[in-house]
């Protein structure tokens, strides 16, 4: 016990001596929590629209007014030729071209049917798809209005009607940041814990100080614990700081119990720190440790369900995700913070993370060699 106390004293002193690291640990997460949710917004809005109007009829005018009034589109160009507006798409100043053919109004009334041409910059498939869908639905509304104007007595709903009432649980105002903030906080805690622990033992190796520790009668598990505990404490501090920011800035108050949240985090941090330590026992230089950790972090974060849903992935990717500790933390944080899930609801995830924690740390202790 005394050995660990001295080791902890040493580790904490080393951490507090390095002002730059402390600053990064304290300030960076807060900054990121402030900026990321503002920037990471998938909502498709402000689509830049170019109109090529060959008709100049009152229908064309009405349609353009209706599209621009919808709030999704910003009129960026009103040109005479398709070629000219295509230039704007090429230079990314416009996303979508609506071309109204000559004689649109006249032919619509006389020939009963008329076409409109829409060209979409589809490099970003999701945005293109939604932009195209918004525009076609506005055109459909416009079409219905014209029809009602021309056929005032017609009935368009002769069949049975199914009314759909949609409820949005857990986030009725559909705030995207309520979803993002817990996920981002999970990533931040993981990054700080993982990187700091991965670099730590390697640093002692690189500087040779590990040789000095190796010749003392310190036990392997004492040494690992001495490395683990300080970062565990730091991880909890960063997490609390993050929760505070979530509450003060975004008004997010966990619906579920803080006890569940911290209980899960306590075990999760052991798992991720164990992973960092394991990597550090494999590497010889900080550069190596950082890059290997970075590689795993990238896979963990991209496949952790932060930005895209794991349900939609192919089966092999789902299998990879089931070995990804980050995906469990993100899931549990969102469950507890937004839905008020309790121990009973999260115990499967808890069990898996506990297993990760035990396996990773055991492996790290075995793999740490006292003799080089």
């Amino acid at each position: 016990m005394r050995t660990i106390r001295f080791l902890l004293q040493k580790e904490f002193r080393q951490i507090f001596r390095n002002r730059a690291i402390l600053l990064l640990i304290g300030v960076m997460p807060v900054m990121q929590l402030l900026i990321l949710p503002l920037a990471a917004n998938y909502e498709v809005k402000n689509i830049n629209l170019s109109v090529v109007d060959h008709d100049h009829s009152s229908y064309a005018q009405k349609l353009i007014a209706k599209v621009t009034a919808s709030g999704y589109f910003k009129l960026r160009g009103y040109g005479a030729s398709f070629k000219e507006e295509l230039k704007k798409i090429e230079s990314d100043r416009s996303d979508l071209i609506l071309e109204i053919p000559e004689g649109f109004e006249r032919k619509l009334i006389r020939e009963d049917q008329q076409q409109l041409f829409i060209a979409v910059n589809a490099i970003n498939g999701v945005k293109a798809n939604l932009g195209g869908a918004y525009l076609t639905s506005i055109i459909k509304d416009f079409n219905d209005e014209i029809r009602i104007g021309l056929l005032p007595t017609a009935r368009f709903n002769p069949g049975p009607v199914i009314e759909i009432t949609a409820s949005n649980w857990y986030n009725p105002l559909m705030e995207y940041r309520f979803y993002m903030v817990p996920g981002i906080l999970a990533i931040l805690v993981t990054m700080i814990g993982g990187f700091l622990s991965a670099l730590n033992i390697v640093k002692e190796k690189e500087f040779g100080t590990i040789e000095q520790i190796n010749v003392t009668p310190i036990k392997k598990h004492h040494f690992i614990l001495g490395k683990l505990i300080p970062f565990w404490v730091l991880g909890n501090i960063v997490f609390s700081l993050g929760l505070l920011v979530a509450w003060l800035v975004y008004g997010i108050i966990p619906v579920g119990s803080l006890f569940v949240l911290y209980g899960f985090l306590a075990v999760y941090l052991l798992a991720i720190l164990g992973f960092g330590l394991l990597i550090s026992t494999f590497c010889d230089t900080q550069q190596q440790a950082m890059f290997i950790m970075f590689f795993f972090m990238m896979v963990f974060i991209l496949m952790g369900g932060l930005f895209t849903s794991i349900d939609s992935m192919p089966d092999w990717a789902k299998l990879v995700s089931s070995f990804n500790p980050v995906s469990y933390l993100i899931e549990v944080m969102r469950m507890v913070i937004l839905k008020g899930s309790s121990w009973k609801d999260v115990w499967p995830q808890f069990g898996i993370i506990a297993l990760f924690a035990v396996l990773l740390n055991t492996y790290a202790i075995i793999n740490y060699k006292k003799t080089s």
Partner: protein
């Protein structure tokens, strides 16, 4: 000149000796292309859904069959009461629930009107939104099948053409993004850390007292990473063409030329960080937090820049990856030539020159 070549060779051996890092450096682009190309999709499908059917009549059954047949939903199970439904949501097992009230079919037959309730887990608002739309469309489909097909007069038919990417694949968007990300990473982090490492271990002093210009010492450290990065560009392009079936529509030569410019920009950023820091840990955290996340966020390939608040939009202009992303998109996907990207090229070159000059100045001060 011969001296310089020898120096570069020495640095190159340094880099090549570290097999673990090399493996990661070359493995990174492959992993990213695979993950982005196949695992990540903004499309929502296979979402788990729960059915709470109080009607259990032909109409509700038919709608449930339609839902099961759609690729958007996987009907997880049916529940008997509201408590079970709520528990399933709290356990995170389902994204959506559909509730049929008792006598659904009867009211549809006799009153020509019936109701269904759709409940979405809106903790993820975007998914909730999309799923509600999909489910409504399925129900509407059923409803329309019930009424006779009417041919409406005065029809406007929109004809939609998807430019550059008719199949709406993810690859045209992310391949340029991955290129920016990987190059940024390799060049900034590796250069920054390898220079700081020499400082930290004291070997930099030895190099600087050699009869060799300090600036050349730094450049010789950057050259191996330039070559490594070009290999990465080539491997990303090969994967893109042969695995993702996304060809380079413009000039490959121009693409490589612009890549070299961007790599030099990134190397300059790395040198800048290394001049300003003294320990590998700090250099790493700064390149990671300060470079990686802005690259992901503000290059525009993950999140649309025009959605961001104005200050962030303005900030995105100083992120080199944004300009490189635009350049690669123009050459590779749109097949445009230099006349379309000269402005972006000029901005990248400008950032490089300014950062290079600042680093050079700071470097001299440190020496004295």
């Amino acid at each position: 000149m011969k001296q310089f070549v020898n120096f570069v060779r020495k640095e190159f051996f340094h880099v090549m000796r570290d097999r673990k890092t090399l493996l990661i450096l070359f493995g990174m682009p492959v992993a990213q292309i695979l993950i982005f190309g196949f695992a990540l999709t903004n499309e929502v499908k296979n979402s788990k859904l729960i059915v709470f059917d109080q009607a259990k009549d032909p109409a509700s059954q038919e709608i449930i069959t339609k839902i099961e047949a759609s690729r958007y939903f996987e009907v997880e199970r049916a529940v008997m009461n509201r408590q079970q439904m709520e528990a399933a949501f709290r356990q995170g097992k389902i994204k959506m629930a559909i509730v049929f009230p008792a006598g659904f079919h009867a009211s549809l037959l006799h009153e020509h009107k019936a109701q269904v309730q759709v409940i979405a887990d809106a903790s993820d608002p975007n998914t909730a939104n999309m799923l509600t739309n999909y489910l409504s469309a399925i129900v509407m489909d059923y409803q329309n099948a019930l009424s006779k097909n009417l041919v409406l007069p005065y029809r406007i038919v929109p004809e939609v053409r998807m430019l550059y990417n008719p199949q709406l694949k993810g690859a045209p968007n992310f391949v340029p993004g991955v290129m920016a990300l990987v190059l940024m990473l390799v060049c900034v982090m590796m250069t920054a850390i390898s220079i700081v490492k020499e400082k930290e271990t004291g070997t930099m002093e030895v190099l600087l007292v050699s009869p060799f210009k300090p600036i050349l010492v730094i450049i010789s450290k950057a050259v191996p990473y330039l070559i490594l990065s070009l290999v990465n560009v080539a491997s990303i392009l090969l994967l893109s063409v042969f695995v993702l079936e996304l060809p380079v529509n413009g000039s490959v030569l121009l693409l490589f030329g612009e890549s070299i410019l961007f790599i030099i920009t990134c190397l300059t950023v790395g040198i800048f960080i290394s001049v300003k820091t003294d320990s590998q840990q700090v250099a790493m955290l700064i390149s990671l937090m300060g470079m990686l996340l802005p690259t992901v966020l503000f290059s525009g390939f993950m999140f649309p820049i025009e959605n961001m608040p104005l200050p962030l939009q303005l900030f995105s202009n100083i992120v080199p990856a944004k300009w490189f992303y635009l350049i690669v998109k123009s050459i590779m996907i749109k097949g445009l030539g230099f006349e379309a990207i000269w402005k972006e090229t000029l901005i990248l070159a400008g950032i490089t020159v300014v950062l290079g000059l600042i680093s050079l100045k700071s470097f001299k001060i440190r020496l004295s």
